[in-house]
């Protein structure tokens, strides 16, 4: 605690510095790589001083790649767009479905309520492929295979349990008498839900939404199994990008940067709620 000798302080500072370097170095390095040309990347020894270039980003955004073998069309921006579309729609849908359900679980103890809540929780820990592989066969029969709709529904498996368990806690923390008072004042159940319960649980709903977005965005295996090339989000798309031939490494780095920037920014914005979200509402940061 407060028994800091100089040796301890120095040791602590050194350790922390090494730790910070370890965790931030890859992100920083890839970021630097994304501003380098192939020649600069391949130079040995690698050097920190170089003239940055925006070529890699321009190539990705425009969709045209100039390689040694000629021009190549890259649809990475499409992957980025898919990620945005899928994650946003999945989270919006999960909020619409999950917030009223969270309210029901918080306020009413009804038949099957705990069973449903815990089944959704336990799925979070079951191997996803167990459900995804048979689902992919069903989807083929139902015509949902390789559709945005199918994917958005499947993404509910990620977002709904999170929203349910975090928002449920926030609803439980509201004293029922506050809602009772509003009802006695003459307002219907629906108005009470929208004017009292939802606003008071606002922070929790926002937290759950942001975190669900991050987890949906970062998901890999769902899209790998159920989407084909033109609907894949960045997680799958980046992998395909890397293994394609003739790709310039700077562009790969740029693709990675574009893939992770949205979630990193959101995480910084939502940092207050990260502990709670990561523990599914068990630990309040």
């Amino acid at each position: 605690m407060d028994r800091n000798s100089t040796i301890e302080r120095v040791l602590r500072a050194v350790l922390l510095t090494l730790i910070v370097i370890f965790f931030l170095f890859p992100i920083v390095w890839i970021l630097l790589m994304s501003f380098q040309t192939n020649e600069q990347i391949l130079r040995i020894p690698p050097s920190l001083s170089f003239v940055p270039t925006l070529e890699n980003y321009k190539a990705l955004i425009s969709g045209h790649l100039l390689t040694s073998a000629g021009s190549l069309d890259i649809a990475f921006m499409r992957n980025l767009g898919n990620s945005v579309l899928l994650s946003t729609c999945a989270v919006v849908l999960a909020l619409i479905l999950g917030v009223p359900a969270a309210y029901a679980f918080a306020r009413f103890k009804f038949w099957l309520s705990e069973d449903i809540a815990f089944t959704l929780l336990s799925f979070r820990f079951a191997p996803p492929l167990l459900v995804l592989l048979p689902l992919s066969l069903y989807f083929q029969e139902l015509g949902l295979d390789d559709t945005y709709t199918g994917l958005i529904w499947v993404y509910q498996l990620i977002a709904l349990p999170l929203i349910l368990w975090i928002v449920r806690g926030y609803f439980e923390d509201i004293s029922p008498d506050i809602e009772n008072a509003y009802r006695i004042a003459g307002h219907s159940w629906l108005r009470t839900f929208f004017k009292i319960a939802v606003p008071l649980a606002g922070p929790g709903i926002a937290a759950a939404g942001l975190l669900s977005f991050i987890f949906c965005w970062n998901n890999f295996v769902f899209a790998l199994v159920l989407a084909s090339a033109d609907k894949q989000p960045v997680t799958v798309g980046a992998l395909a990008f890397v293994t394609a031939s003739g790709i310039q490494y700077g562009q790969v780095a740029a693709a990675i940067v574009l893939s992770v920037t949205p979630t990193l920014l959101l995480a910084l914005y939502a940092q207050r709620w990260l502990v709670e979200g990561l523990s599914l509402g068990a630990v309040k940061g």
Binding site: S175, I178, N180, R183, I184, G186, P199
Partner: protein
């Protein structure tokens, strides 16, 4: 359904249990229009539950509630036209005090000007006009309580339910409000059910006091009658500070008149208690009905004055009788000479005497015109 000529609130045989715990066991009560009934009883006995059933927050297990002559079963809280103030205020934390109060009007599609007027009026009445713009977080407990009251009153409800509104308020404010509230409630003219755990509050505020014991209304009477004519030991014990003395006695007929032996002395009971002779009884003695007398006298008991506790308006005396039993007596606190411990004699005022059947606890009602009964 034709409107029966009923009381404003009529409760018939109400039952309510929570998870195998029966709270209300066949409770019945009627409250007339414009009446203030205080609902009193020890904590945990279901007073708040009863209010919630009246408000429609929970459904009852059995029994009926009639509001304004109509069966209210199935009617949700927003349709009952009631005003309610909660013990813990239950103000909406994300709204200003003004909006909190106005919420009782916004449901009825009143126009904004009318709403503002009514809010101002009730705020002036409760002296919170200057804090209307604050959020509940910024209000003191007293202000929160008044805001909650204002919210309950602003729509001029004809039925008002108040759940121990003075409980969470500091002593000084509680005292002030206890003086102001009756006048305020009478002016508003609603029918009021007021829950409290303080018997003094119950007696001060209520036209009638309803005592909730063991899931039922044991007695609903004017404060004076509750105090002087409690229906059983349970009710008698709840009123009075210090609580009344209870002593086991067995009245006997001596020369045709009922008599008990107490502390070695033979005390003659009023003749109207003759029918109690021969049965085991409990004698209830109100502390203020015990007077220290100067010396031995017929009907006076020899006691030992053990301790004197001076409170402001009265002194409480701890006495022991010959058999070791203790009695508490109280007298006015403005004596010239403080009393000193030692032997003394105490006389019983027959008008404040209460006799109960030992087994059932019911009060033995003294006969009029020589007829006994219980």
């Amino acid at each position: 359904m034709a409107q029966i000529d009923m009381a404003q609130i009529e409760i018939r045989n109400l039952h309510k249990s929570f998870k195998d715990d029966a709270v209300l066991k066949g409770l019945s009560l009627s409250v007339d229009k414009g009446e203030i009934v205080t609902l009193f009883g020890p904590s945990g006995t279901g007073k708040t539950v009863l209010l919630r059933l009246l408000a429609g927050i929970h459904p009852q297990d059995a029994g009926t509630i009639f509001l304004r002559g109509r069966d209210a079963t199935g009617s949700p809280p927003d349709k009952r036209g009631i005003g309610m103030a909660f013990q813990n205020f239950a103000l909406f934390p994300h709204m200003t005090a003004r909006d909190n109060i106005a919420s009782a009007l916004t449901a009825r599609k009143t126009d904004a000007g009318e709403i503002a007027r009514k809010v101002e009026r009730v705020a002036q009445l409760l002296k919170i006009g200057h804090v209307l713009g604050h959020s509940p977080r910024e209000l003191s407990n007293g202000q929160k309580q008044r805001t909650a009251l204002a919210r309950a009153l602003v729509a001029d409800p004809d039925i008002l339910l108040l759940d121990d509104p003075l409980r969470n308020v500091d002593a000084k404010l509680r005292y002030e409000m206890r003086l102001e509230l009756p006048a305020l409630l009478k002016r508003v003219g609603s029918t009021v059910v007021y829950v409290t755990q303080d018997f003094k509050e119950a007696m001060a505020l209520g036209d009638r006091v309803a005592v909730l014991l063991d899931g039922r209304i044991a007695q609903c009477d004017t404060p004076a009658r509750i105090y002087a004519e409690p229906v059983n030991v349970g009710v008698a014990r709840l009123f009075g500070d210090p609580t009344l003395n209870l002593i086991e006695v067995a009245p006997q007929l001596v020369d045709g008149a009922p008599e008990i032996r107490l502390g070695g002395a033979a005390i003659r009971l009023p003749a109207s208690y003759a029918a109690a002779a021969g049965s085991p009884c409990l004698l209830g003695l109100r502390p203020e009905g015990l007077r220290l007398v100067d010396g031995p006298a017929p009907g006076a008991i020899a006691v030992d004055l053990v301790a004197v506790t001076p409170l402001n308006e009265k002194s409480v005396l701890l006495l022991t009788m010959q058999g070791g039993e203790e009695l508490l007596a109280s007298e006015a606190g403005d004596r010239d000479e403080p009393r000193r411990p030692g032997p003394a004699h105490v006389a019983i005022d027959p008008d404040t005497l209460l006799l109960f059947e030992r087994e059932s606890g019911r009060r033995f009602i003294p006969a009029e015109n020589g007829k006994g009964g219980s």
